[in-house]
Symmetry: C2
Subunit: 437 residues, 2 copies
Amino acid sequence: MQQAQTQDVMEKIVSLCKRRGFVFQSSEIYGGLAATWDYGPLGAELKRNLKEVWWRSNVYERDDIDGLDAAILMHPMTWMASGHVSNFEDTLVDCKGCKKRFKVENITGKKCPECGGELTEPRQFNMMLKTHLGPIEDATSLTYMRPETAQGIFVNFQNVVNSMRRKVPFGVAQMGKSFRNEVTTKSFTFRSREFEQMEIEFFVKPGTDEDWYRKWVEERYGWYIKYGIRKENLRKREHEKTELAHYAKACTDIEYNFPFGWSELEGIANRTDFDLKQHMQLSGKDLVFFDEVTKERYIPYVIEPSGGIDRSILAFLADAYREEEVKGEKRVSLAFHKRLAPLKVAVLPLLRNRPEIVELAKNITNGLRKEMKVMYDDTASIGRLYRRQDEVGTPYCVTVDVDSLADKKVTVRDRDTMLQDRIDIANIKEYLIEKLA
Amino acid sequence: MQQAQTQDVMEKIVSLCKRRGFVFQSSEIYGGLAATWDYGPLGAELKRNLKEVWWRSNVYERDDIDGLDAAILMHPMTWMASGHVSNFEDTLVDCKGCKKRFKVENITGKKCPECGGELTEPRQFNMMLKTHLGPIEDATSLTYMRPETAQGIFVNFQNVVNSMRRKVPFGVAQMGKSFRNEVTTKSFTFRSREFEQMEIEFFVKPGTDEDWYRKWVEERYGWYIKYGIRKENLRKREHEKTELAHYAKACTDIEYNFPFGWSELEGIANRTDFDLKQHMQLSGKDLVFFDEVTKERYIPYVIEPSGGIDRSILAFLADAYREEEVKGEKRVSLAFHKRLAPLKVAVLPLLRNRPEIVELAKNITNGLRKEMKVMYDDTASIGRLYRRQDEVGTPYCVTVDVDSLADKKVTVRDRDTMLQDRIDIANIKEYLIEKLA
């Protein structure tokens, strides 16, 4: 099998996503809402699975990370402390002709790239989405929809230390929605105004931060490989000093070779003690860590592996996309890692007009429901049913045929090899659980 | 064991939630943000578990429901169609003295309940949180943070039918954040401005709606019982005709007997064809369902079981809370259903100054990590360690003692019975998996 290398692979993925229920344009019946997307039935499962493996890798399988689930709405002082109120800005120009707005960095020359009209002077524009809490809309009720989940962790640093008796080094992991008022959005779900993050803030003793930074770069790179991204499509890119955000001492992006070019999936940053210091200063609270063993007091440094869930989903989709010739026909499949596949098993009756076969197939389906996401389908011929399942990345198809009634066996077909096994119905659950483990 | 019936049980739960990392006030270091809450490490696990059992019950174990994960930001026309722009209002009065604002329904007499001052005339106040997308803040960029997840399902009705080849009856399940600009907030996490919903829109043929409505009331009532709410603390309350929302033909609330009184956990409403009709009208799109077998065309009726995740968590916490006397000491425990318990197992060395015991305990912990959420703790005496785990509802404690080094067995203690089993270390994983299943 080889990855489809054609230039239109992105269009094919977008089309497949819509047709098969991975991703829909948000509020599509109203013409859509710019740069927001809805996950359909299979996309919702894919996203759930991705979030589950991330959480398990970090919160369950490690002993040095706790989870957190902080609110999207935070006290506005949070964003003063973090620097977002003063620094989180795009520089924009307007076209005096067509009234469109552009990022200065996307303008070459001094004319509007769309209509050739005259442009205004550049202006600063804060990218946080605003809202007002309470009945009166004024400065005192102004707050923001968080532009990153990270700050929810920093403001809870002492709460986690106290409630979980944590000692540095330890981390806090969080997944959740963030919002940015992006002017330029692009490339399907890659950059959207509403997006989901998976972030860890890992607190370490100053002086050990460079070691931990390197460890986390390797850890996170390995995670994408483990769940199926091919090595040749993944790279680490260390930021130049001039690229670094105001809070960062070092940063490495993990980039994926999307059909539209190499782009960031996740950034691992050494945020130093910037955030905790800022919050100490603005809140007046003591966020110094006291080490009871060494009797030292310090503000921890922070290593932040910050990944985008939506763009990871897009990368896993793109990397899994396969086109090949099988017996003269084009076969499209999504070779997802088994843990990520939205449907684990499809149960298919070979003959849908034989009630005993249909009944047996339905019974098998129901017997699997508690253990895995399973689908029953009898709405087409077997060849077509296989193609449907290949196209959404279902690792195994279980086919019930006439022989099954007599020999109490079914055929299990592997998505990637297309090889078939004949398995006792009595053992099918255990067989699949083991295959999917 | 008996439920703590004291009036201060709510205060005890709030205190336990903060101290043990279930729930923190949002942005607490800045004095908090009114009516928003953060889930700490154990609260985040409890919430994950609750969401997981809801999703599995509805999307995995049934064959007639698909999942969805739609965006929080939707096209503003959505809220014209749903009636939220014109109808989702509180009627408020201001005090001319202390400037506080109140819901009219909470005012008895014509004076301010806080300072006795004079009140203004009542005014309407829309409860949706507003924001602006794009760089210009005007009417054309105005949109809302969704006040309910339901509409994300309605606008995707045709997308789900088409991509999943669904036939009525079928449902769509979704969990996610919603936002309401509540003026009166109360009772800890029960009513907050940012909250999470678990909603199903179940589409049925008109005429079958009353049957399905009754089925769903029973189904959802049974779900809370299944996961541990005691029958005496749960009741169904059917709405009077005068109470019904503008879109509903019938509605039943499932109420829990909170320490602050009987209050709604979930509402099951017969929303008729109101929403789909409205969206057809405003979008101009055809949302009529065509039944290929009977050749009928109709707009489905909708039965909506709509539950609050945060208030369910609070109910499961309150219902699990136990105080009892054990050997002259007060024991506090959270008797969570095993599926909901944030930590499944704690591994505790009896003697923390014996390196072989500590090492063995850590090895056992690491051997369990991939299978369940497990915690190692050696920071206190065994009695205290048990109390800590009881207080957060950990179903099993595994204790490693001196004998364990010789006989290769450990003690497993049950949270509820406090009975102890001696189990071979070689079998401990399977033993716990079976117990927790």
